[in-house]
């Protein structure tokens, strides 16, 4: 990819101390201080390595902004699909490093031709952009079982269609998709630029089925990050899998070749759910009730049986009324690994506000993203548990759902999905 252009050469020259570079796509040890997080450090502007054992954007410390897009593949040609994946990989490798897409970028080509790159990220730094791809069940087989691209036999057992959960109210037009692409960055314009350019490259071969913007990461994926708050005002995901939990990542996040689909070794499965929140109703709920529903204190995020956010909840302690302090139907209890056969998730969700709904309410909520080794034993039982019992259900509704098998990372010269199509 010689001849490609740097969006911001200045940064390349002057950007000191890219602490985040040490994080890498492989989840190596973090050298990322809390000071970095305050946004004063240039690390938030710098690049995240694209190549690695695992795809970036999973254990990478969660960036602040998201643009997620699900694509329908419109070509029926396997060769076209592979060509698209190769072009996408090349463009992603460039854009994540702060370079313009294509050979001639946004302004370097013929004045008679539309520019290769759409240009709105010119002068913007890499902003820790990561682009992560996953393959949906429908890429492997059609609804009636037809093998679309000669890969039906390689569909992993773990990529089983998600079951219907109680109270699901899914919009098919906003669910599913043959390919999912997650673009995360600390600048929303950089994330949108990435999706927009990938969508453009895809015309004639794939098109966007649905897409979702998100802001204000709702999870921390590193101990160096504080736990942010969701739109209900609570710190959620304190117990999230983090890149420092090496052993847990190996047993709970990354797929192994022994799991059945060799091509997925080093990859991970992503569940995406758009969860609409009735925030107006929530805001009329008393503080005590809100805390009971979560099982955590709103101010500190500490479990109701502890003092600090990261204190382990003690589900056995009862209050004066003899009932457990952390209620049986509280969110923290139902989602806790202890009540889900040890199942962990790496959550990477974002808040969303997609305008308003015409009834005087914001169309707001959580775009839930969770990576895991096998949804059948992780997301599915946890969600079943939550959907049945969680008191939070009065205030939330799952309105879309998608599942993707995110392949392992690529090295220079390889393309996304090379282990699947190779």
């Amino acid at each position: 990819m010689t001849g490609t252009l740097n969006r911001r050469r200045l940064l390349q020259v002057g950007g000191a101390g890219f602490a985040v570079a040490a994080v890498g796509a492989g989840g190596a040890a973090v050298a990322h201080s809390v000071a970095d997080e305050q946004g004063t450090d240039s690390a938030l502007h710098g690049p995240v390595p694209f190549h690695g054992e695992h795809q970036a954007g999973i254990t990478t410390p969660a960036q602040d902004r998201l643009h997620f897009a699900a694509f329908d593949v419109t070509t029926s040609s396997r060769d076209d699909l592979i060509a698209l994946l190769k072009e996408w990989t090349a463009a992603a490798a460039q854009m994540t490093q702060g370079k313009e897409a294509g050979q001639t970028g946004a302004t370097g080509g013929s004045t008679e031709a539309p520019p290769d790159d759409t240009g709105e990220a010119l002068e913007l730094p890499p902003s820790q952009l990561t682009i992560t791809i996953g393959f949906g069940p429908s890429l492997f087989t059609t609804a009636d079982g037809k093998d679309r691209f000669g890969i039906a036999a390689k569909r992993p057992a773990a990529l089983a269609d998600l079951p219907h959960f109680p109270a699901d109210d899914l919009d098919p037009a906003r669910s599913g998709g043959d390919i999912g692409i997650q673009a995360c960055a600390n600048d929303p314009q950089v994330a949108v630029h990435a999706i927009r350019n990938l969508a453009r490259i895809a015309f004639g071969r794939a098109e966007i089925r649905w897409s979702q913007l998100g802001f204000g990461r709702t999870s921390s994926t590193s101990v160096a990050q504080s736990t942010p708050r969701n739109l209900l005002g609570f710190k959620d995901g304190t117990r999230n899998l983090k890149l420092e939990d090496t052993a847990l990542l190996d047993s709970q996040l990354w797929a192994h070749s022994a799991d059945g689909a060799g091509w997925m070794a080093g990859g991970s499965y992503l569940v995406a759910r758009r969860i609409r929140m009735s925030i107006e109703i929530w805001d009329r709920t008393s503080l005590g009730e809100q805390e009971t529903i979560f099982g955590r204190a709103k101010k500190t995020g500490a479990p109701l049986t502890g003092e600090k956010e990261r204190d382990e909840p003690d589900f056995s302690i009862a209050g004066a009324d003899g009932q457990p302090l952390i209620a049986e139907d509280s969110h923290v209890r139902l989602a806790h690994p202890d009540h889900n056969a040890g199942a962990h998730l790496l959550r990477r969700g974002y808040n969303f506000v997609d305008g308003s709904d015409g009834l005087g309410r914001l169309d707001a909520g959580l775009f839930f993203l969770a990576y895991q080794r096998d949804p059948r034993s992780q997301f599915v039982p946890v969600q079943r548990n939550l959907a049945k019992h969680d008191r939070l259900n009065e205030y939330i509704k799952h309105v879309s759902s998608a599942l993707f098998a995110c392949p392992p990372g690529v090295q220079p010269g390889q393309y996304w999905g090379h282990t699947l199509f190779g």
Partner: protein, 379 residues
């Protein structure tokens, strides 16, 4: 000239095979030199010789049918290399065309509509000099000029029929002619649209008007026809439309688009489809958007066809992409053909609209690359 009405066009697709094989198989009857005679009727198009040496050829077209006919010689991609129009029943007319080696098709168009009854022509040898790129570019301009002339002529004829029906207060006839008259308009829109204020006075939708501005043109009559269902006060609008269209036609005939303008015109036409037609916004009262959609696509194809020899030389892979892209659009449009035209846009499902949008977006990308290929300095 032809007013390639959509239905006839789509229906003709099916006829082509039968017609072509019937007359392409036997050409030994004709002499090996001298004029190529063409015998045209409603159902047949007999060409005396289909294997020709490269060079100048005279085509002698005899109309043995009962409808006015025309005969075209097309190069690949339906690029017009020669034509004769308005051959009345029982009449003969001749034209001369220079044919370099290659594959061609002759087409009789009884009634001057549709794709015509096609016959394959093979030209071999090297009597004609290999065209330079410059020559190909100037040919593109000349070839497209013929297209504009033909559609301008058809536009004024069909518009006259339409406005006559409006003035006769024949609502049903006017409704039937409305999308037909608009077909040629939409086909040459990049040319017509270049004449500033005439475009809005012919084609402005209600919503585009500024306060105090007088609403005229097709869409005013469309509203009279479909919403008011009253033509009692439509006469002046019809008169004004005809005057405006005549002006456009006169000016269009004088316009010569350079190759770059052709390429950009092809793109603009698809942009029109992607922004206005696919959304069903163009003909909000009549819902005849698919006629306009089809005309824009055909107009885009015609521009690309004129440029084809240059594109073949410079970027054959792009030509393949364009062919595949337009074929996908044709196939999608054909699903909605009905009678002499198309179903109305309000009959399309969301999935139908999405499928149309998908194929338009897909062909839009390669079409957007044509201008740079045309503009590229000669190697």
């Amino acid at each position: 000239m032809s007013s390639p009405r959509p239905a006839a066009l789509l229906a003709a697709g099916a006829l082509v095979l039968g017609g072509a094989s019937a007359c392409a198989s036997k050409d030994s009857a004709g002499s090996a030199s001298g004029p190529v005679s063409v015998s045209a009727s409603e159902s047949a198009c007999k060409v005396s010789r289909t294997e020709l040496p490269a060079g100048k050829h005279t085509f002698d077209v005899k109309n043995q049918g009962s409808k006015v006919t025309e005969f075209y010689v097309y190069a690949e991609g339906d690029r017009i290399v020669g034509e004769i129009e308005n051959v009345g029943p029982g009449l003969s007319r001749k034209f001369i065309v220079e044919l370099p080696a290659g594959k061609y098709e002759g087409a009789c168009k009884p009634g001057m509509v549709g794709k015509g009854i096609r016959t394959g022509l093979t030209v071999t040898g090297d009597a004609a000099p290999h065209e330079s790129t410059d020559q190909k570019l100037s040919d593109a301009t000349a070839s497209y000029k013929k297209v504009v002339e033909a559609h301008s002529q058809s536009l004024i004829e069909k518009t006259t029929q339409f406005t006559d029906a409006v003035k006769a207060k024949d609502i049903e006839k006017a409704k039937a002619l409305f999308p037909v008259a608009r077909y040629d308009w939409e086909f040459i829109e990049p040319v017509a649209g270049s004449f500033g204020k005439l475009d809005p006075s012919i084609d402005a939708p209600d919503a585009d008007l500024e306060p105090g501005q007088q609403w005229t043109g097709f869409h005013k009559l469309e509203k009279d026809l479909w919403i008011a269902k009253d033509l009692s006060r439509s006469g002046p609008t019809a008169d004004k439309l005809l005057v405006d269209v005549q002006k456009i036609v006169d000016e269009s005939k004088a316009v010569t688009l350079n190759p770059l303008q052709l390429a950009n015109g092809a793109k603009e036409l698809l942009d029109e489809v992607a922004t206005g037609k696919v959304t069903g916004e163009e003909d909000t009262f009549s819902h005849t958007d698919l006629w306009d959609f089809h005309a824009n696509v055909e107009g885009s194809k015609a521009s690309i066809a004129a440029l084809r020899p240059v594109l073949e030389e410079r970027d054959p892979a792009l030509v393949k992409e364009l062919d595949a892209g337009f074929a996908a659009v044709d196939a999608e449009l054909a699903k909605h053909a009905q009678g002499d035209g198309f179903v109305t846009y309000d009959k399309l499902s969301k999935a139908d609209v999405k499928a149309l949008s998908t194929v338009i977006n897909a062909v839009g990308e390669p079409v957007s690359k044509v201008a740079a290929v045309v503009a590229k300095d000669k190697k």
